[in-house]
C-alpha cells in the first residue's frame, strides 16, 4: 500500500525539471544557441581574485571552460584562441543567500504545523522578479525556503538566480526547515509553545515517520535549518540537534554571540540575518563580537522577496562592527556552499566548480563598491544593474 506521502513524492520529484523543460522548451529554443560552449569559455584577468575560501590572489587569472572553472591562479597560461577579459577590480564567487522565500506567501502551506513532506521545489516560480533583484546584488544562488510559519514548513531548494531554466535548480532538497522561533507558532494550532514544538519534533523523529525528508535528516544526509531567535530557542535547537542526530544549522539568532556561546561546543554552524541600518546597537556589537571566530557562519536574507537581499551590506556593517573581513567573505560564498552541502559546485573559485562570478570595482565589503558584472555558469547574467 502506498502512503499518501509516498504517492505525493513519486508524483512531485521529477515534475519540476520536466515542467521547466517542457514548458520552456520552445521559448528557449533560440537562447539555446547562446548557451554554446564558446560563450561560456574565456579567460579572466583581474587585479584581485577572492577564491571564496578566504584566500586572495593578486593579479589572478580565472579560466572558465563550458561554464565551469578550469583553473585559478596567478600567472596561468591562457590557452590559445580563448577570449580574454581584463578586469581592473575584484573577482569573487557569486554570493549565496542561505534562506529567502522568493515567491512569497504562495509558498506558505499552513494547514498544519508539521509538514515535512512539503517541498519548496514543487512551488518555485523561476520567473519571480526577485531573482533578478538578487542577481543584480551579486547573489547567484539562493536557498529558497518556505516561510517559517510552522514548526516544519518543509524542505528548501537551491536555485540559481539566472541561467538556463533546466539548470537553475541546483538541488531540490538541500535542507529541512524547522521553526523553533516564535513566528513558527500560532495560538490556534498545536503546538502553541516551545516545549510543545520540542515534543512534536521528538515524536516525529523518534518514531517511524513516513516522510523521506525526516528519514534523511535522521541519517544526517539532509541538513536541518533550525530557525531560532532567542537564546532559549537556540539552546533548544542545539539540544534537539544533539538528541536527534541532526546535521543542524541555527538560523537567524537575534544575538549571534549568545548563540555562539551556546553552540560552540556542539560546533553547529550559524546562519545570520544580515545587519541593516535599523538594527540596534546591542545586536550590532553582538555581530562584531564574533570577531575572528573560526566558527562557521553564513548569511541569509530571510526576505520574502521584493527589495534587495542586503547580504553584502549586512556583511559590510558586520565588518564595521568588528567581524573579520576574510570570514565575512567566506560566509557569503564558500562557507555558505558548505552549509548546503554543495561545496563541490558552488561558493569557491576552484577547478570543476560552476563559473558563478561577480566582478566588483573594489573590496566587496566596502559599501561604496559597485558590482560591474555577474556571471552565472560562465555567462554574463546581469543587465548592468547595481544592487546590494
Amino acid at each position: 500500500m502506498t502512503s499518501f506521502a509516498e504517492l505525493r513524492r513519486s508524483i512531485s520529484r521529477p515534475s519540476l525539471a520536466r515542467r521547466a523543460a517542457l514548458g520552456l522548451g520552445s521559448a528557449l529554443a533560440c537562447s539555446g544557441a547562446l548557451a554554446s560552449a564558446q560563450e561560456a569559455t574565456f579567460a579572466l584577468q583581474a587585479k584581485k581574485v577572492l577564491t571564496g575560501t578566504g584566500e586572495a590572489i593578486e593579479s589572478g587569472v580565472v579560466l572558465v571552460e563550458n561554464g565551469k572553472i578550469r583553473a585559478v591562479g596567478a600567472g596561468l597560461a591562457i590557452p590559445a584562441g580563448w577570449t580574454v577579459h581584463q578586469h581592473d577590480g575584484v573577482v569573487m564567487p557569486g554570493l549565496i543567500d542561505l534562506g529567502a522565500t522568493l515567491g512569497g506567501s504562495a509558498l506558505l502551506e499552513n494547514h498544519e504545523s508539521l509538514t515535512p513532506d512539503l517541498r519548496v521545489a514543487d512551488g518555485i516560480d523561476l520567473w519571480d522578479p526577485s531573482y533578478a533583484a538578487w542577481l543584480a546584488a551579486g547573489v547567484t544562488s539562493v536557498y529558497v525556503i518556505p516561510p517559517t510559519g510552522s514548526v516544519i514548513p518543509g524542505s528548501g531548494a537551491v536555485v540559481k538566480t539566472a541561467g538556463a531554466p533546466e539548470q537553475r535548480i541546483v538541488s531540490t532538497d538541500a535542507g529541512l526547515e524547522i521553526g523553533l522561533n516564535s513566528g513558527a507558532r500560532r495560538r490556534d494550532r498545536a503546538p502553541t509553545s516551545v516545549q510543545g514544538s520540542a515534543l512534536a519534533l521528538r515524536d516525529l523523529f523518534g518514531h517511524q515517520s513516513p516522510a523521506a525528508s525526516v528519514q534523511r535528516a535522521k541519517r544526517g544526509e539532509l541538513a536541518v535549518f533550525a530557525h531560532a531567535d532567542s537564546a532559549g530557542e537556540v539552546r533548544l535547537a542545539a539540544q534537539l540537534a544533539n538528541e536527534l542526530g541532526w546535521k543542524a544549522r541555527i538560523v537567524g539568532p537575534a544575538l549571534p554571540d549568545q548563540a555562539l556561546a551556546i553552540v560552540r561546543g556542539a560546533a553547529i554552524p550559524l546562519v545570520l540575518r544580515p545587519l541593516d541600518y535599523g538594527v540596534d546597537e546591542r545586536t550590532r556589537r553582538s555581530y562584531g563580537a564574533l570577531g575572528a571566530t573560526a566558527h562557521p557562519i553564513g548569511f541569509a536574507s530571510l526576505a520574502q522577496g521584493g527589495g534587495e537581499p542586503g547580504l553584502r551590506r549586512g556583511a559590510a556593517l558586520a565588518v564595521r562592527a568588528g567581524l573579520d573581513p576574510a570570514i565575512a567573505v567566506r560566509a557569503l560564498t564558500g562557507g555558505a556552499a558548505a552549509m548546503l552541502g554543495l561545496e563541490a559546485r558552488l561558493g569557491t573559485l576552484a577547478p570543476g566548480r560552476d563559473a558563478d562570478l561577480v566582478w566588483l570595482d573594489g573590496d566587496p565589503l566596502d559599501l561604496g563598491t559597485r558590482i560591474v558584472a555577474v556571471f552565472v555558469d560562465g555567462k554574463r547574467a546581469d543587465r548592468g544593474a547595481e544592487g546590494r
Binding site: 494550532r189 509553545s193 539552546r235 546591542r282 563580537a289
Partner: protein, 426 residues
Amino acid sequence: MLALFSLCLAALGAALPNSGIEPPVQAAPDEHPWLIQAGTVIDAKGQRFAPGAVLVKDGKILAVGTGLVAANAKVRDFGAHAVVTPGLIEANAEIESIDRAEEGAEITPRLRLADGLDPESRAWAGLRRNGVTSAFLSPGGRAVISGRGAVVKTMPTADERWILDPAGALKATMGQEPSGGNIVPRFGRPNSIFYRRPTTRMGVTWEFRKAFSDAQLYAAARSAGGPLDPDAQVLADLMASKGEIRMRARLLQDIRTAIRLAEEFGLRLVIEEGIESFRSPEEILAAKAKLIYGPTLFEPAGIVFGFGFATGSVRQQETDRNYLATPARLHASGVEFALGSADYAATDRGLAHQAAIAVHFGLPREVALRACTVVPAMWLGIEKRVGTLEVGKDADLVVWSGEPFELATRPVAVMVDGVFADAQED
C-alpha cells in the same frame, strides 16, 4: 564637562559588548577561595554564628563558622549588620518569559518546561533579587495536566549545568484556570484555541480522572502486548511508582478534589498555592500532602498577570480568598509547608517579600527560613546540594542588609555556585 562626557562615552563603549552570555565561570577552578564575612551567619540547620564567615572555593562551601581565617583568600566583608543565609529556594515560580503552557491539548504529560527555558531571560535576575538561588519552575495552568516542571539554579550557564532537574514533578491544575474562557465547540470548524473541552471545574476533574483511568486500562493492555501510547505510559509509570503529582489547587473544594484524585490513583500529592488550605489543615495533614503555600498578597484580590481576559477574573476569584496570616495559622495547626510566589517570583514581590509578610503576620522567623530553604530542598530532592550552609554543599548564599524577612530588609548580594551576583548588578 567634556572630560566627564568622554568618560561616559568610553563607558558606553565598554558596557555594550558585554551582551553575550558570559563564558561559564563556575567551571573554572578558583585560584583563591572567597571568605565572606558578616555580622551574622545563619546556616538554616539551627546554628547562628555572630560574627560569622563562610569560606567558599570552587563553587562549594569549605567552612562555616566564627573566626575563620584563610591565607590567600579574597575577603569580602559585608559589615556587622549583614546577615548571611543559605540561598533561598523558590518552590513555585512561574516565569513570564517562557511559554508556560502548551495549549494544543488538555493532557500533555510528556511536555517539559525545561525545553523552553531561556538563559537570557530577565527572570533570573528577578529571582536573584529576591535572594533565590534555586527554583522550581512550574508550567502554566491552561492545560489540566500540563507536563513537567524544571528545577534550576538562577544563574544560567552556557551549558546545561544550571538545570538541576529537567524533568521535575508532573503538574496538574484543578479549579477554573484550565477551563476559564473556554467555549463549547458547537458546529463548524473551531478556529480558536478556546474551543476546548473543559468549561467547568467538573470538566477539569473529569479530564484528569479520564486520563489516569485510561492509563490504568492502557497499562493492563500494554502488559498484554498492546501498542505503545507514550502519554498514557507516563501516567501509568507514575502510578506504578507511586510518584508525585503536583496539583495547583486554590480553593478548599479544589484541594479536596486533589486529595481525592491522588488517593484514587495512588499518587503522592503536592499541593501548589493552596490559598484556602487554612480552612481545613487537618485534611492536608491526614492526606500527608506536601503544601507549597503562596503567593500571599497585600491586596485582597490578586492582580493578575496570567492569561489576560480569558482567565483573569477566574484567577481573581480564586486568589481573592487569601489571608495574610494564613502561613502563621498553618504553622499553628502543625502543617509543614514551603513558600512559593507563583507569578510574582521574579518581581519585587517574590519570595523575600512573601516570607517577610508571613513573618510580619505571625510566622516564626526560623520557620519562615525553613519554608524557603530546607523544606523545599527536601521536597525538590536537591537537599544534598542546597538548602543549608554546610561544608561540601553548593556555595549558594544570600547576604541580607539586616535581619532577613523584615519588610525593610533586602538581599544585598547573592552567590550562586561560588559566583557573586550583586543586587546592583542586576
